[in-house]
Amino acid sequence: MNIYAFYSVNGEITNIYTGTQPEMQTGFAYINCGIEVNDTLYYIPDTASPVPTAKPTNPTTIDKTTVIADGVDKITLSSIPLNSTIDLTGDNISPIQDTATSSTIDFTFDVTGTYNLKVDLFPYLPFEAVINAN
């Protein structure tokens, strides 16, 4: 079986193609790859010498996942890669999206609920956490 990974100029794998005519997919560079390669877990670090490589672990850390929803108690994210996209969704709020302008972010909550937090920046794997604000 011939499997190809198509990737963009920054090395992000855009899709996986299985077939014999990868050249028919115009607009993207491609490389022959193994079945284990996918666009979620792999990328091309060096497009001049393309080798599918596992994405690095996101260095983001979180100090706790349960917080009192009093506007004072806080959850701290640390070691966030600059310019990461921060997504926070929950049942009781409109989705919040922001860009990390520092490596540390403090979250406070006025609204109780369960929240899904995602920190994403290529080429890192996404950092995800579930936060309970009580």
Binding site: G71, S102, I105, T108, Y115
Partner: protein, 115 residues
């Protein structure tokens, strides 16, 4: 960098008051002896005992039951009065900390023990 997850104050007040009502309902029907509460509210043995009392002297067991139903009703009404007190404080609060203080001030009392 800081991110505050919040809503307009009126939404926070309404959300927290609705949560209080839900918690109180659960406290009354789940954390206590629901059949007794149901007895005091729906089957209403109290009415039949009160009517009977107009014409005859109730047996000691009947009087005990009537008094107990009255005490359960009083317990429930006290909780509802407490809810209304806290409601005023919730909607008078000017921030989430004030709302939390109001919620935390709610005093839950246990249902009277059946004699």
């Amino acid at each position: 960098m800081q991110i505050r997850v919040t809503k307009p104050l009126t939404d926070l007040q309404n959300d927290n008051y609705n949560k209080l009502k839900e918690d109180l309902y659960n406290f009354i029907i789940i954390t206590n002896d629901f059949p007794e509460w149901k007895q005091a509210n729906f089957l209403d043995n109290w009415s039949s005992l009160a009517v009977k009392e107009l014409s005859v002297t109730l047996l000691p067991t009947e009087l005990t039951e009537k008094n107990y139903i009255e005490s359960v009703r009083e317990w429930k009404n006290n909780l509802l009065a407490e809810r209304d007190r806290v409601k005023v404080d919730i909607f008078a609060a000017t921030d989430i900390a004030g709302i939390r203080t109001a919620i935390d001030s709610f005093t839950y009392t246990n249902m009277p023990v059946k004699p």
